[in-house]
């Protein structure tokens, strides 16, 4: 039962990712990206971590594609040239996927998922990983300031 759900989810995720990469219409690509990330949030639900799922939903599935759409609008790029047929790259990607997948599939056969509560994540975040947490917050602040400085129009 849950395997069927996983299969459907995984199939849709891969389909969405393929649309992102192969679509010649960049707006559709952005929508497909949002769709993919939304489904990945479903994956996190299955992994027993609603916290991660909702953060994925809010940031990756909602905010980031909207930002992307906004930039698409501002730069008025409507279409991208379809991916050029670089066979080496395709082959490389397929090999990575196949090898990685096979290795992962054979190597990891655990079946039990341990669910995580938001409280658990919060407590861990502010105790053990407090330093990375602070670094991440500084990073976000820097990104914000940097983005403003970069994108600001220089007044002559």
């Amino acid at each position: 039962m849950s395997l069927v759900a996983f299969a459907i989810l995984a199939g849709l995720i891969l389909a969405g990712a393929l649309v992102v990469v192969f679509s010649s219409n960049i707006v559709r690509a952005a929508v497909a990206l949002a769709f993919t990330f939304f489904l990945i949030a479903g994956l996190y639900f299955m992994l027993g971590s609603p916290m991660l799922a909702v953060v994925q939903f809010a940031v990756n599935a909602a905010a980031i594609p909207i930002l992307t759409l906004f930039i698409i609008m501002m730069t008025r790029s409507r279409s991208v040239r379809p991916a050029s047929g670089i066979f080496v790259l395709v082959a490389l990607a397929v090999v990575i996927a196949f090898a990685g997948g096979l290795w992962a599939y054979l190597g990891a056969a655990e079946t039990q998922v341990f669910p995580v509560s938001p409280e658990g994540i919060g407590l861990r975040l502010l105790s053990v990983t407090l330093f990375p947490f602070e670094v991440a917050s500084v990073l976000l602040l820097l990104a914000m300031v940097g983005a403003i400085v970069l994108a600001r129009r220089v007044e002559e």
Partner: protein, 102 residues
């Protein structure tokens, strides 16, 4: 039953798709979107590993959270650079960046 292997396989395939996008796209926006796929593939792997193998500390899940944070930061900076590039060159193609070299 779903095993950890299923998630890792999915992650690997997703990573490959994202890598392909990064290498073949000419539009910078499309490249950034492909990078997002790459990061998410990694996040899936981390979260899944944590959920199956790390019931006490679930560090992988925290790492997935950090990945999301970093992705957001990366994207905002990327788009800001993109905007200045667009104002300078009137285009968001990687060809333009190439011409700016030197």
């Amino acid at each position: 039953m779903i095993t950890l292997g299923h998630y890792l396989t999915l992650s690997a395939v997703l990573f490959a798709i994202g890598l392909f996008g990064v290498l073949t796209k000419r539009n910078v926006i499309a490249v950034l979107m492909s990078v997002e796929i790459l990061l998410n593939a990694a996040a899936i792997a981390f979260a899944a590993t944590a959920a199956y193998r790390d019931p006490l500390f679930f560090s992988g899940q925290l790492f997935a959270l950090f990945i999301i944070v970093v992705a957001a930061a990366e994207l905002s900076i990327g788009f800001a650079i993109l905007l200045t590039l667009y104002r300078h060159a009137g285009s968001v193609s990687t060809d333009v960046i190439e011409e700016m070299r030197g």
